[in-house]
């Protein structure tokens, strides 16, 4: 199928236009249209693996069109094993997030669904772009709908959280843009052609000092997004204030844009800087701090949603640790863990959202013994918690284990600290489970909470299945990422002195 990627990329945008065309008062039609288009996008994206050849090096299904020839920017998209996984994750999570807001839709639903659809196109564009200019465009486009989703439909401090998220990430991304431009000029200086084509820019040889500057410019953009310690302060605000769908999309997809940026751009384009010992040490140290610090903060949280938000800091720390282990095992583990985190954290945020809709509280101390009244909820929550904590047979274990084995191969201390992080992770997650689900029913108010509805069960079902499927049989994921990761590792090794 010739333009499958473009189809997947622009289907949500078509949905956005369709939603805008419907009058505001017809909110049921708007809701239906939005859900239809996101489902259609997901189904279309399922066709991608059918045309994708695993193990073939380089990008596949590449589409190239002239866009702004005067500056050398093209419409250039393509996919490899890494982006394939993230694209599939994005379409799935977007469709589920769209669906989970079914009952909250109302007169103000038009803008809400329009923004969700715009966000989906933005995220997919980030994962598909092979042109730096196009990438930057999508990167920033993602911020706009998220501002409105948090700012209009969020919690009490939504206004503050929304602008903090927006300004913080934009500040990072303008420096990333400067880094891209520096790269663009360095290439033009050597080859006499101005281009933003990633596959061409990779050929440039940079002066080591310039390469380090560019690395840090890109680092600012990606690190804020991940977020790496100490750039994480926007995250708890944004996640806690966002409505459920917003939190799910933020945690599952938007954070991956940062880690994806490191893998797709920083490592292949700037291999020498990425392998510079002090830079690697700095990156790993920041990752380890994030792992431990995030976990410790989680232990002290009294707010259910905030705890899950901070757990992302810790888990994304594993992902960046895997990236800067700079070997096959670390990088593949990192990509797979990004998918896993997308699944498990989406589950956790969805479940918190379900509880909040019923009880209008997120204080952990308001709950206890919920397993008695909501057995299905408790079961799914247990799966989510175990998946997030990295229990064997569930998806989280696969990623954590691969990352740690990659880190162990480089430095035993890194792996050691990582293991401590894992233990702390299990501690705060299981403790959360114990305080909310186990024990006697503490409050009368919780006695009549209804269990998961059919719709809610259907929403969590695919994620639960995936958590088990990846945990039991992760081979397809490893096969998908092995070839692109190998290319990156070879690229790094080729410049090793």
């Amino acid at each position: 199928m010739p333009h499958l990627l473009s189809l997947v990329l622009f289907l949500p945008l078509a949905g956005l236009l369709a939603v805008l065309a419907i009058p505001t008062t017809q909110w049921r039609a708007i809701r239906l249209t939005a859900n239809f288009f996101s489902l259609l996008t997901f189904l279309a994206s399922l066709l991608i693996p059918a045309f994708f050849h695993i193990g073939v090096p380089g990008f596949q299904m590449v589409e190239r069109a002239s866009w702004i020839p005067t500056i050398g920017a093209q419409y250039l998209i393509g996919i490899d094993g890494i982006s394939l996984l993230l694209v599939l994750l994005s379409t799935l999570i977007s469709a589920l997030a769209m669906w989970c807001s079914w009952n909250n839709a109302s007169e103000r639903g038009k803008l809400y669904y329009a923004m969700l659809l715009m966000l989906e196109t933005g995220v997919l564009g980030v994962f598909l772009s092979l042109d730096l200019f196009l990438f930057y465009l999508f990167w920033d486009v993602v911020l706009i709908p998220m501002y409105f989703i948090i700012g209009i439909y969020g919690g009490p401090r939504r206004s503050y959280a929304a602008i903090k998220f927006f300004v913080y990430t934009l500040l990072g991304s303008v420096f990333m843009l400067l880094g891209f431009l520096a790269l663009y000029f360095q290439y033009a200086k050597q080859f006499g052609v101005y281009t933003f084509d990633l596959t061409k820019l990779i050929q440039v040889t940079l002066d080591p000092a310039i390469e380090k500057w560019i690395f840090f410019a890109l680092f600012l953009g990606f690190a804020v997004k991940v977020p790496m310690f100490p750039f994480h302060t926007w995250l708890p605000d944004a996640h806690v204030e966002a409505p459920t769908a917003g939190s799910v999309l933020l945690a599952s997809l938007l954070l991956k844009m940062g880690t994806y940026g490191f893998i797709r751009f920083s490592l292949p384009l700037l291999p020498r800087a990425s392998m510079e010992p002090w830079i690697v040490n700095l990156m790993v140290t920041l990752s380890l701090i994030a792992i431990i610090y995030g976990a410790l903060v989680c232990l002290t949280q009294r707010d259910w949603k905030k705890l899950i938000a901070y757990s992302s800091v810790s888990h994304l720390g594993f992902c960046t640790l895997g990236i800067f282990a700079l070997n096959q095992s670390g990088l593949s583990g990192s990509v797979i863990q990004q998918v896993n985190h997308g699944i498990s954290t989406a589950l956790l945020f969805l479940l918190v959202g379900f509880i909040y809709e019923r009880r209008h509280s997120r204080e952990i101390s308001d709950f206890g013994g919920l397993a008695q009244v909501m057995p299905a909820f408790a079961t799914v929550f247990a799966i989510a918690v175990f998946s997030s904590a990295g229990l064997p047979l569930l998806n989280g274990f696969i990623g954590d284990f691969t990352i740690l084995s990659g880190a162990f191969a480089v430095n035993r201390i890194w792996a050691g600290v990582g293991v401590i992080g894992l233990i702390l992770g299990a501690a705060y997650l299981l403790w959360l489970y114990q305080r909310t689900m186990m024990g006697p029913l503490k409050y009368e108010a919780n006695r009549f909470l209804s269990d998961l509805s059919i719709r809610e069960r259907l929403i969590v079902f695919p994620l639960v299945i995936l958590a088990f499927a990846i945990g039991i049989y992760p081979r397809p994921l490893f096969e998908a990422v092995s070839s692109p990761v190998q290319e990156i590792v070879e690229r790094l090794n080729s410049v090793r002195f």
Binding site: T24, W67, I68, P69, T70, I71, L111, Y136, L137, D140, V141, L143, I144, Y147, F148, G151, I152, R158, S159, A162, I163, F166, V167, L170, L171, V174, F175, L177, L178, L181, A182, F185
Partner: protein
């Protein structure tokens, strides 16, 4: 001195300002002759638009002539006027701004009970002055152009006679503007002194001959730079701008913010990048300081404003800072960056002001302020007027420089120019202020979308003072902002064409 002659080329060069002046006079005559009823004033709007059509035609004739001319430039009047890419680019934008002014002003003036024909005549006179700012290559013609447009603007700013603020603004603008003109006139006289000619080509030779260490050259360049920086409201010569912007009738504010600034930048380009290019060591530091100071003061002051027009005054000071950065990059990229920025700046500001004009509603006399003056007046607008609010958001995104809007490209080309010429520090500063500008522009979005309307306002749902003209202006500018952001190729080609032709 050659004997006076008037040939076809001279006529072509003079046709647009002749039309402008004739229409201005005709408007005033018609006003005297016709009974002064409301209906006839609406008629004036159509008559003015007819005039603008003629002007557009005359400019189109010039464009056609220039494309066949050697070097894409047609000198006229023994080398005191020129038709070239820069003059046409500037005149096109000034024309566009004037049309938007005509489209948006009548509703506003009716509400203020000041809908009089002189307004339209003055708009034509101002455009006439700006035509000479854009096309003059002679010190005297240039100065006359500067003053003609300035005089028209002084009156326009004070056009709402009953409004004290408007009067105060006019006086401030007049006093500080006169001082700026004094600086420019002084600088011009020194240039005449060292070159013995008023023609820019001769001046240029004299400046090259004397070098940039010559005290007279320094004196002339510094005074001219200061005077022109007053015109475009660069910090620290910006103090008139917030008051004049705030006090002037909003359509006039838009015209000052756009047309006057566009013409001012055309003069800056013509002088600093043209005939005074060899004096770069003198003016570059002045511009660098002004640019960074404008970015800083504009951005920080905009954070704390409560009044919409003061807010936009400071924000456009910050934009001037970005444009000035383009002058520091001594390359084609820099010149291109300036032009692209100026074009996009004009577009998005006109849209934003068209929106502000529609906010004006008749206020009771007891009110300390008229509705539509405060940022708080935007509250809850997304619920009452979703389409207008959404278009305004597009413009605000563009003003803060986010893709996929045109404003991003404007900043992008400034960054490109700075990085390519090694001004990394300036590029980093400029980039950091993008985030600040996002913060202050999104204060307006926050009012419109995030905050709940005050209880008192939920009942009095007043419609916007919208008119067909305003809707047209807002729709066109916001649409173009988005379109250029997604497909900028035609604009970029235009910019490449224009930068080929700056003398």
């Amino acid at each position: 001195m050659a004997p006076f002659s008037y040939n076809a080329t001279d006529h072509l060069a003079l046709l647009p300002p002749i039309l402008m002046a004739l229409f201005a006079c005709a408007i005033m005559l018609l006003d005297v002759l016709s009974p002064s009823a409301e209906s006839s004033r609406r008629g004036t709007v159509f008559f003015s638009l007819l005039g603008m059509t003629f002007v557009a035609y005359s400019l189109a004739l010039q464009i056609r002539a220039v494309t066949h001319a050697p070097g894409f430039a047609i000198p006229a009047f023994q080398g005191s006027l020129i038709i070239d890419a820069l003059s046409l680019f500037t005149n096109g934008l000034v024309w566009f701004s004037t049309v938007i002014l005509l489209l948006c002003a009548y509703r506003y003036l009716e509400i203020a009970h000041e809908h009089r024909s002189e307004f339209y005549a003055l708009a034509f006179f101002a455009e006439c002055g700006m035509y000479f700012m854009a096309g003059a290559v002679d010190l005297i013609a240039l100065f006359v152009g500067l003053e003609t447009s300035a005089l028209a603007f002084y009156i326009l700013v004070g056009f709402t006679r009953a409004n004290r603020q408007s009067n105060e603004a006019a006086l401030k603008y007049l006093l500080l503007g006169a001082m700026a003109s004094g600086f420019v006139a002084y600088g011009f006289s020194v240039l005449y002194g060292i070159s013995g000619s008023t023609q820019l080509s001769e001046v240029s030779k004299a400046v090259v001959r004397r070098g940039s260490a010559d005290p007279f050259v320094i004196l002339a360049v510094v005074t001219i730079a200061v005077g022109l920086l007053f015109k475009i409201a660069g910090v620290p010569f910006h103090t008139w701008a917030p008051d004049a912007y705030d006090g002037a009738p909003t359509p006039v504010t838009a015209h000052i913010a756009v047309a006057s600034k566009v013409a001012g930048f055309a003069v800056l380009i013509r002088l600093l990048l043209g005939s005074l290019a060899s004096a770069r060591p003198i003016w570059a530091p002045i511009l660098a300081v002004t640019a960074v100071a404008s970015l800083t003061v504009g951005s920080i002051a905009a954070l704390t404003q409560d009044r919409l027009k003061r807010f936009f005054a400071y924000s456009s000071i910050a934009h001037a800072g970005y444009i000035l950065l383009g002058f520091l990059a001594d390359s084609d990229d820099g010149r291109r960056g300036i032009l692209i920025y100026v074009f996009i700046y004009a577009l998005m500001n006109l849209g934003a002001f068209a929106f502000l004009i529609s906010l004006r509603r008749p206020g009771s006399a007891a009110d300390r302020h008229t509705p539509g003056d405060l940022i708080g007046d935007l509250r809850g607008l997304s619920k009452r007027h979703p389409l207008q609010a959404a278009l305004f958001v597009v413009l605000l995104l563009s003003l803060s420089g986010l893709p996929p809007t045109a404003g991003f490209l404007a900043k992008y080309f400034i960054f490109i120019a700075l990085i390519n010429t090694g001004h990394i520090t300036l590029a980093v500063i400029a980039a950091a202020y993008v985030a600040v500008s996002l913060y202050f522009y999104f204060r307006l979005v926050r009012e419109m979308y995030l905050l709940e309307p005050r209880p008192a306002e939920q009942h009095t749902v007043e419609p916007l003072a919208s008119s067909l003209g305003i809707r047209l202006a807002l729709g066109t500018t916001a649409g173009l902002t988005l379109l250029i952001g997604l497909y900028p190729e035609p604009l970029l080609r235009l910019a490449f064409l224009v930068t080929g032709g700056v003398p």
